[in-house]
């Protein structure tokens, strides 16, 4: 296949991996964020954790795979992004480490102080990445200082501009909403009621912040030049889906509400990649120095090998991950057999 075709395929695949990651890890970040608030006693918290227990680790592998795919398909992107956003990524890694072990460690001791401490570790480990992802995405589309050798020339505080911070708070609120809706779908009894209330409360800030973010995206990025006033069907539907969430919640239709938050997150992520294409990192120093799928990619041979591997194994991964969700499809109620 032509190099250019392969480059486009891999841009799409990386976008798919991140979209999958935000949808899946999005709800388990949300559950982590809500854990100390919705779970009023130890048993409730255990029930909440068990809603994501079988899934969260598999969800996180979407990120690891996205990282691996970036490294293999667009090494320059991988190198520039992670070295450039160094302190932010370190914070993210520390948060993910804390969160990962917290799920495993919290129930290994009966001591309430121990469990409480790890529950807050889950909270921090979920909230911090939820914010940092927003900050990172906003900076990627807004552009950061990159020189002609593809090296980032800004500092940590370059990343903390108001626009990026707004996006960070928006992703935090959307993931929280997504998590609440997921809990409403996966729990029964009191927790189901409580998470429905939380989801309704979380909807307004999530919707407002997202709209505000969209508004500022026109001002801060070249979205208007690239996609026009009417950015097309995908971004429009992401807004419609987000608005629809509240109607589904009011109708107590938890499955549909979850589909709507999923669509809102998925379509927004796709919009961000549409806005980027064919660039992968925008240079604010000089547009000519932006990283694109053409100057950041691996060779045609490597992309070809990777395409075959992806073609063989991505469907398999999807199949068994869907199977997992099927096995654990039942709502978790106070009477459920709880695995610790």
């Amino acid at each position: 296949m032509e190099l250019e075709t392969l480059q486009i395929i891999w841009f799409i695949l990386v976008a798919v991996l991140f979209t999958g990651f935000f949808i899946l890890e999005g709800f388990d970040y949300g559950v982590g964020i809500l854990l100390p608030f919705i779970g009023r006693d130890d048993k409730e918290r255990r029930m909440l954790i068990n809603t994501i227990g079988p899934f969260w680790d598999g969800n996180e592998v979407w990120l690891i795979t996205a990282g691996g795919a970036m490294f293999a398909a667009f090494p320059e992107w991988y190198a520039t992004l992670f070295s450039g956003f160094y302190p932010a990524l370190i914070l993210m890694l520390v948060a993910l480490i804390l969160r990962g072990v917290a799920f495993e460690f919290r129930s290994k001791s009966e001591n309430p102080a121990w469990r409480n401490a790890w529950d807050w570790a889950i909270f921090i480990g979920s909230a911090l990445p939820a914010i940092l992802w927003g900050v990172a995405l906003a900076n990627i589309i807004r552009g950061v200082p990159i020189d002609q050798d593809m090296n980032y020339t800004g500092g940590f505080f370059t990343l903390l501009n108001p626009y990026a911070l707004l996006c960070g708070i928006a992703t935090l609120s959307i993931f929280t909403l997504h998590g609440a809706v997921f809990l409403n779908l996966k729990t029964g009894g009191n927790l189901q009621e409580r998470s429905l209330g939380t989801a309704k409360k979380a909807w307004l800030p999530a919707a407002l912040l997202s709209l505000l973010f969209m508004f500022f995206t026109y001002a801060e990025t070249d979205l208007y030049e690239r996609l026009g006033v009417n950015p097309g069907i995908i971004p429009t539907f992401s807004v419609i889906a987000l608005v629809a969430v509240i109607f589904m919640l009011n109708a107590k239709s938890s499955g549909w509400a979850f589909i709507m938050t999923t669509l809102a997150i998925g379509l927004s992520t796709i919009t961000i990649f549409l806005e980027l294409f064919p660039r992968v990192m925008v240079s604010s120093t000089n547009p000519e120095w932006s990283l694109t799928i053409y100057n950041a990619s691996s060779s045609a041979y490597t992309l070809g090998i990777m395409s075959i591997v992806a073609l063989l194994f991505v469907p398999l991964v999807l199949a068994y991950q869907i199977w997992t969700y099927w096995i654990f499809r039942k709502r978790i109620t106070a009477d459920s057999e709880l695995e610790y």
């Binding site: 969260w56 795979t65 970036m70 398909a73 090494p75 160094y86 890694l93 290994k108 691996s298």
Partner: protein, 457 residues
């Protein structure tokens, strides 16, 4: 401090720490899978309780291995951006495949295993832990495909402008001879680590006469066989690996032996105090001919020394210092081999008892076996230190030097690395303490009573 040194220290810290947990995952996953299979086949509750007991220890260890592994996936971009740009076309591929093929399997099926006791049929449930065990070892394969490219680059060509290495033959990468000596060594190292942890915990229970003596006798017997097979394999694999290295990285072998001059037949050092500045021995005890024997399976044949190789490399690669830190290479090699030999001895001793179904040990022997679990950790760490330090000054042998691979200081400053190092040191210390505390707690608690095993793991 300079960025290169800091970046190297950080890589050493994060990778050695990660590899404290990986081998136990490799070894224990297989043990747990075998135990659960025994339960499915015999229906004996003891096997189920054993599965849950060892499974619990496996899970605590696994969690730390996973989270420290996330750091590994990203740190080539963090601190080694020039390396990533140079080698991503090749090195990124096995990393991505590892995630797609192994990590997804491992994490998804482990989730099913932990939470699926009452949701799947018994054989299907046992199958999930087998998938975890196989996937863990598969992930080791792919990461070693990546590492082997750094040790012995194959299947590539340099791009036209010389800015990067490009893959031209994926199969050459996969069937790199280095992979197939390193992979068995690492997997056998994992078995061995699992074995000695099983032995130590079982011995403790037998010594303390805790309930479930029979269950821990089963564990110990299994651990003993496992330990013997594991150490035998690790030694054999290590031996072939050394012979392979003689062809691809003779300098690493020379440094590991502190062999300054080429020798034929070459003697093997038992104990050397050397002078690294002047490239000579200060004091050494050597066995004549032994190194040639290990290298070529006969008591003759030349093994090239550091000085000759340095001259040769200067001719090939231009002026420069091509000698890795000799003292570190030499002593890490001795610690690895020493620990390995000691483990084999202990495994044989243990087999001598358990194969005759004797579980009463003299107190010196039980103490030795109890603490022997530290040996594989020593061997695993020093083995990797030798593999990576012995390759210096190269990051990709013969293609890219470590000093040219680091992220430019203008992008990641030494202050930032000090910040990240402090963050990692802090959180890793917390992980280490908690992990040891929890494994010790679970190990001491022993098997859960039969009727309440449901819902405990």
């Amino acid at each position: 401090m300079d960025v290169l040194l800091l970046a190297r220290l950080q890589f050493a810290l994060t990778s050695v720490f990660h590899f404290f947990f990986v081998p136990l995952t490799l070894g224990l996953s297989l043990f747990v899978a075998i135990l659960e299979t025994a339960y499915v086949r015999t229906g004996n509750e003891t096997y189920k309780r054993l599965t849950k007991f060892w499974g619990n220890i496996f899970l605590i260890n696994f969690a730390v291995g996973v989270v420290t592994g996330i750091v590994m996936e990203f740190q080539f971009g963090l601190n080694w951006s020039e390396y990533s740009r140079f080698v991503g076309d090749i090195f990124g591929v096995p990393l991505a495949i590892e995630a797609l093929l192994a990590f997804f399997l491992e994490s998804t099926f482990l989730g099913i295993w932990v939470f699926g006791w009452d949701k799947l049929s018994k054989p299907l449930h046992a199958a999930t832990i087998w998938i975890v065990a196989i996937a863990s070892n598969l992930s080791a394969l792919w990461i070693l495909v990546a590492n082997s490219f750094m040790q012995s680059p194959v299947g590539y060509r340099m791009s036209e402008d010389g800015s990067r290495a490009e893959m031209v033959d994926f199969w050459a990468l996969l069937f790199n001879p280095h992979v197939w000596v390193q992979f068995p060594h690492v997997v056998a190292g994992g078995l061995t680590t699992g074995a000695f942890v099983i032995v130590a915990i079982s011995i403790w229970h037998l010594l303390k006469k805790t309930p479930d003596q029979e269950a821990f006798r089963i564990s110990l017997k299994f651990g003993a066989i496992y330990a013997f097979v594991g150490t035998m394999l690790v030694i054999l694999a290590g031996h072939t690996q050394m012979q392979e290295l003689l062809k691809t990285q003779p300098m690493k072998v020379a440094a590991a032996e502190a062999l300054w001059e080429s020798e034929d037949p070459a003697s093997m050092s038992l104990f050397t105090i050397g002078n690294e500045e002047e490239l000579r021995d200060v004091f050494a005890i050597k066995v004549p001919g032994l190194l040639s024997f290990l290298a070529y399976n006969k008591f003759e044949g030349e093994v090239r020394g550091i000085k000759e190789l340095q001259t040769e490399y200067e001719e090939t690669y231009g002026p420069g210092d091509y000698i890795p830190p000799v003292a570190i290479s030499y002593w890490s090699f001795r610690m690895m081999v020493g620990a390995g030999t000691l483990m084999l001895g202990i495994a044989v001793l243990l087999l001598f008892y358990v194969l005759r179904n004797r579980y009463e040990f003299p107190s010196w022997a039980s103490k030795l076996m109890l603490w022997s679990f530290l040996l594989p950790y020593l061997a695993n760490s020093t083995g990797w230190i030798l593999a990576e330090i012995g390759r210096q000054p190269w990051i990709v042998f013969g293609l890219l030097k470590t000093e040219d691979a680091v992220t430019p200081a203008s992008v990641v400053s030494s202050g930032e690395i000090i910040f990240s190092m402090a963050a990692f040191l802090g959180i890793y210390a917390l992980l280490a303490v908690t992990d040891i505390f929890l494994i010790r707690k679970s190990a001491i608690a022993g098997l859960a009573p039969a009727e309440s095993t449901e819902g405990r793991v």
